[in-house]
Symmetry: D2
Subunit: 152 residues, 4 copies
Amino acid sequence: VKTLIAVIGGRKESHELLVHAEETGKEIAKRGAVLICGGLTGTMEAAARGAKAEGGITVGILPGNSPTDANQYIDIPLATGLGLARNAIIMSVAHAVVAIGGSYGTLSEIAYALQYNKPIVGINTWNIEGVTTVKNAHEAIHKLFAEISPQG
Amino acid sequence: VKTLIAVIGGRKESHELLVHAEETGKEIAKRGAVLICGGLTGTMEAAARGAKAEGGITVGILPGNSPTDANQYIDIPLATGLGLARNAIIMSVAHAVVAIGGSYGTLSEIAYALQYNKPIVGINTWNIEGVTTVKNAHEAIHKLFAEISPQG
Amino acid sequence: VKTLIAVIGGRKESHELLVHAEETGKEIAKRGAVLICGGLTGTMEAAARGAKAEGGITVGILPGNSPTDANQYIDIPLATGLGLARNAIIMSVAHAVVAIGGSYGTLSEIAYALQYNKPIVGINTWNIEGVTTVKNAHEAIHKLFAEISPQG
Amino acid sequence: VKTLIAVIGGRKESHELLVHAEETGKEIAKRGAVLICGGLTGTMEAAARGAKAEGGITVGILPGNSPTDANQYIDIPLATGLGLARNAIIMSVAHAVVAIGGSYGTLSEIAYALQYNKPIVGINTWNIEGVTTVKNAHEAIHKLFAEISPQG
């Protein structure tokens, strides 16, 4: 069974945040974990591109009914047809979460992660109690893996 | 067709906030609107009690599969079986939203309301840009109805 | 708390089946129960029209995000945004079910009703083991109420 | 991007049907497609075991909130927390469907597949118009791939 790490964040982010997202995707793949994301553009696409660059597996949990909505780096496009309720699903399925930038959609996911008591770290994202601020992808994934596999 | 106003907030709140919730339920019913809430205890129960005191209709959108999970003031207990994804549904169905106190579940709902671009006011709740702070139930409902029926 | 009876069936049905749906809506309202349906046209609209003719309350659980998708006889239009997954919700929330005609959407609902072990009767609908065939609205509602309130 | 083939069926099936499920999982993996299933026991487990025997990727879309509910052959356990509404999701995300045996849960999925207009074949399952009956796993996957990639 694979460890599932979600990367969440906005569709329109600065180049700097997209680089963080791509690096995060790489770190996830290097650990042998699966990238879970919303499957669309921006941070989702950057993270998926990073994961594929390291030979990882990428899952996109899409709001609509068409798998072709997924960005080109998604291996497994899950077209749920649930609309924004898919945000809840992304957080339910993830073992741990990295939030990068983001707007209200990301805020709903952060809230769900905290309600589900999932480990969550953030890079330049909503300042919500319970989210651990980290500086970069390496620190993000290092901290999350320390929490989900204490002996690792 | 009825106007649907959601009251969201935590299960464990101070007496003062529960009074605000009950007053909000009353104001909703006085306007002939339907109270939408999560159907459980705390602010949800207080709001439903208020709405029933004024002869209103109350809908509880429950996370579980059993309608008996609803508090005693719910007329229409909708046992969705969706778990926490029901938070997204409450915000999708409401025409406007009053947030009172609350924890992470309420935060997820606030985020959804803002993502859906629904009018939302708050009493002593999460300080998120886009939520209009109000002092009491009367001001809450007055502001929301001004937004959803400009000519009213 | 109200008893919630779902009427399910197709959007395009014969005049005869629509009359059965309208009569079923009337019987539900006469019993003081709430009509739950998919909120759209055909049997859903006929059932809602019947329920309103007897002063009942009607709830439409819609697939899309817009309450204006509901037919004109729906009091409480719940625009879930869940797409076809809303079929599962209709069956989860209903205490008992009347199926009238219908196509694949109705079949998914019948299957859910049986999986949830809800009492279900059918008028000229899918022939699935577990669905009790009835001749008309009166027999449908009589049988369902006998099951959900044995002492009634 | 991967092709996603769902195998649906009951938790308690005959040895013969479980062999069909396992063979179907093998055929899916041999084609380089991803197995989508409900992640639990019976046909779901047999199909996942088959897919893993051929080095495939297996996704389990679970009703509960715990990834440990998945059978041991699931690589990517998606604990949706949606309850039975997850049946709708399995059918929304699949490109094509193989139904093997099954009870009411399988019937709801067959109905959804047909409502979504997904190619679907069946081995000893519900006799519903629109489901193409096949004799074995090889015929099942051959027919489905002919439909979803006509030039293949």
